[in-house]
């Protein structure tokens, strides 16, 4: 080997060694379990027996034909995600439009609205479950009673009509600051001259927002949409904490809580992993479709 070549390899050897440990951990504790999940979904196993029984596509077929709760979970996952996307985007965008200009007071508001984003989900969950939704002394029912609307009071997180919406609302509260920060970043990239031109033309502020700001925010909006969509699809923590693992008579059952219960409680490992794979496919597909859809719109303008 030529000395130069040898030196090059030797020099790159150091760089390979930098990657060695992190990649090992990543393969072992992340990629390998994910690959196993895929493989296990073709087996029947209780998680303990020494032998796993190969059943082919049976877990998937059962899922779609025998298990009606699966459709409920799928429907709830989509409903929850849609509430989160609309709420988080709309609130984040409106607040961002009001406070995007850099100033001291706007900075204070920005800090306030992003605050829930740094709080632990366990804290947020218990805060809302006890302080706001508690049927006996929570804020919501106390308020309704005080204005004479006793008829509207309910056990918000146990009532099948309200449970899913109430949890999703907390997620909106937690997540809207995230959307807001991204929209603010997008708004600050819009050149000031455009606004000046609009005001010379005599456009009022609503017209300016509609004709200048919103069209230019499309790229940021598509990023926020896709990210919040993924958050919604994989949401688990709040539902788990606020409705005892998604039970509430199945009304808050989503794909993540369903696969958790099937695997850890009922020990149907293969079945649980089939749900996991479906979840993965749903997440990847919906975010891909959304990305393409938003990009096409982008190109058309």
């Amino acid at each position: 080997m030529k000395p130069a070549m040898k030196a090059l390899l030797k020099r790159n050897a150091a760089y390979y060694s930098f990657l060695l440990l992190p990649l090992t951990l990543y393969f072992l504790f992340f990629l390998y379990p994910n690959a196993s999940a895929l493989i296990w979904s073709f087996f029947k196993w209780d998680g303990m027996a020494p032998e796993m029984e190969f059943v082919g596509l049976k877990n998937y077929i059962d899922l779609f034909t025998k298990n009606t709760i699966f459709y409920t979970a799928l429907k709830n996952t989509f409903a929850y995600t849609i509430i989160l996307m609309i709420g988080s985007n709309l609130m984040g965008l409106i607040v961002a439009l009001l406070i995007h200009k850099p100033s001291k007071i706007n900075n204070v508001f920005r800090t306030v609205f992003y605050l829930p984003g740094v709080l632990a989900t366990v804290a947020i969950g218990s805060m809302w479950t006890l302080g706001v939704y508690n049927p006996n002394f929570g804020v919501l029912n106390t308020f309704l009673r005080s204005i004479g609307l006793d008829a509207l009071t309910t056990a918000w997180l146990a009532d099948p009509r309200t449970a899913l919406f109430c949890v999703a609302l907390v997620h909106v509260w937690q997540n809207m600051g995230f959307s807001m920060i991204l929209y603010i970043a997008g708004l600050q990239e819009i050149p000031e001259e455009l606004y000046e031109a609009a005001s010379i033309e005599g456009a009022d502020s609503l017209q300016t927002v509609w004709h200048i700001t919103l069209p230019l925010l499309r790229r940021v909006a598509s990023i926020v949409m896709v990210l919040v969509l993924i958050f919604g699809m994989r949401s688990f923590d709040l539902i788990f904490i606020m409705t005892e693992g998604g039970s509430a008579f199945g009304t808050t059952e989503v794909l993540t809580t369903l696969l958790f219960r099937q695997g850890f409680t009922f020990r149907k490992v293969g079945f649980s992993n089939a749900i996991a794979v479906i979840l993965l496919i749903v997440v990847v597909l919906t975010s891909a479709i959304q990305k393409i859809f938003l990009r096409e719109k982008d190109g058309g303008q």
């Binding site: 930098f18 992190p22 994910n34 605050l115 709080l119 809302w128 302080g131 794979v277």
Partner: protein, 278 residues
Amino acid sequence: MNYIASKRAKYLGKYSALTLVAMVFLFPVWLVFINSLKRDTEIYVNLFGLPKAFQFVNYADAWINGKFHMYYMNSIVITAASVGFILVFATLSAFALSRRDLIGKKLINVLFIIGITVPVQVSLMPLFVLVKDMGLYNSMIGVVLIFIAFRIAFATFIVTGFIEGIPVELEEAATIDGANSFSLFTRIILPLCKSSISAVAIFNLVFVWNNFWFPLIFLSSQSKKTLPVGLLSFMGEETTAFGKLFAGIMILTLPVMIVYLLLQKHFVQGVTAGAVKG
């Protein structure tokens, strides 16, 4: 005159509306704070008002009887170890991936993107079995390794994007002067990507500190519980001791809130960098 007056009225109207919204928005946090300072008997009759007498009984109760002093230490150890290793590994990997055309570089990038999109729940069962087989169940080291594995992709992604923006000339000059790859890393790269490192650090700090999921599943003994897991069991067991629970929420969230208020610039940077990359 009229124009200025109407502008001022608009300004006042906008910010009073925003203040009102912000107050409603922060109300749950405020509620927890004032009620953590009340006795349980007072909470039932006076949820909204200020406490009649400020007292820290609930905090003492959570801290000592609720074993929060122990959970606190565990949380600090696990968070510090995880974030420390995530930073070292992420910066080293990002340096290698952005500065050399290594074999398999493209594959590694693709594998890291997978790591950013896949929901955690997908691999949970196999991971659980793996951790048990390796004898790492109920071990804090095991939990730290899992945190590293689950966060390394995202962290590397952000730092790589940052290093790619640093011109190579500096390193070329240093190489001529005889610097080896490691000193290029410590002397040139690290000082230059301080801001992205702090964004990644703060982000993971909050993530690991707040995460209840991995400690809940992979740690079983009481003495190894972290703060969020401790709070979760509070919520399950004690349905009447609300004051203690509220104090527990404050103990868990206060450190993060303080870090957030002090370093909010880096939070904003982290959110934006992460989203644009992802």
